[in-house]
Subunit: 92 residues, 6 copies
């Protein structure tokens, strides 16, 4: 049995790192082979996201086995957090 150190509350939470990306273009990998790229306008603790100027990138394989992308403009969207796999932070 391991000793309990309660200090992980003093660390930054993973979600706190998103604050640096507000008003910047980020890339969000979502379930079902999709990516969203848009300007992050708001987020909450569930990783719900509000994005503006969003484009959805859908990845698929064509008949010859090449990876292809399909783009779709979505405008302003509210993404439900549970669809997110990971958020790629904007480079500073």
């Amino acid at each position: 049995m391991v000793e309990r150190r309660q200090n992980y509350r003093q660390q930054a939470r993973p979600i706190d790192y998103l604050k640096h990306s507000v008003n910047k273009i980020i890339l969000i990998k979502v379930k079902r082979n999709r990516l969203f790229r848009g300007k992050l306008e708001g987020f909450d603790e569930h990783l719900n996201l509000y994005l503006e100027g969003t484009s959805q990138i859908f990845e698929y394989q064509d008949e010859e086995g090449n990876i292809r992308e399909e783009h779709e403009n979505l405008g302003s969207i509210v993404v439900r957090g549970d669809n997110v796999i990971f958020v790629n932070l904007a480079n500073e």
Copy 2:
């Protein structure tokens, strides 16, 4: 380790943006290749939605590989929020 700024609570939450769409027609992308289009009458913090005059659009590929749509009128429905991928806000 990053400095902690607690100010993301002062931002609008993603879900707050839905308020502008109440009583308007919105488009909801849901899991399992479905779209709902209907008048938003109510919503809550789980993204549960109450819609009136809803039509369900089911997207599929026919034998020649074309994307086809099938429409179904659902009337008044309560959608459980965890089925939502994203909500496309009504244009103002």
Copy 3:
């Protein structure tokens, strides 16, 4: 950034609309291509449902591509809310 109006709490929550359907026959679209039809006896905020006289309708495609239905009588069941896609309210 949008102004915050907290008034969506004053709206009816999506789940409140279910109250009109208690003791009535409703249709519930559930995940995995199933429908339940039964008398709504109780529900809670997770959309857990207690149904009596329930029949399950399973939709599938036969060898010629026709949509077929299979019915099964389930009697009294407790449905876990997270299986629900949407509830079709009883007509009044």
Copy 4:
């Protein structure tokens, strides 16, 4: 907009109906084409279940398209509630 009546808290919650089935054999339909049949010894608000003398029934289709069942004895198990689709209550 609908009037708000808060009286659905006075109704029995769906999960309350399970109390009548404690110490009885129940049938639980779970995700991924499985059924559990066992004696209900305990449950909680997440629909986590503790079952004794459990048998798992796995339904599949054989090469000729017939529905077949495979049984497996599991003994005492703790089932995580989110795997449950519905619980078939014991007849009284």
Copy 5:
């Protein structure tokens, strides 16, 4: 409508049964056709588990239709509870 008896709180919760298996070898059925076998060192109310000396058993069907198993040693792992289907308790 059924009378409400609040006594299911006095029953043992399903998760309480896991306490008898701490420091024992247990078998955990997880989603995506996997089993974990390891020594249970810790658990919480979400069914998050800390296991030592864990081996993962992946079940699959070979070309002749036989059920085959593949073993992999994982050492010490933290399993997120929502992957668990059920826990098979250690025999006493």
Copy 6:
């Protein structure tokens, strides 16, 4: 019915074991046949993770049935906890 011993709160929670891996390279098995390998910078009780220098390893089977891996550099990412199957702790 089993006696209730409330002492599992005194045990270390599964998530507490992650603290030993902060600032170390860990391996995370995620859903949809993916692995992340990166330096753990932060985590929370949902198993949300903040990783730096992350590489994603995608496992697939080629035409001859061999298991192949594809690597992709992701840099700094916030992983939503519900994608995690298990975390392999860093050896000490």
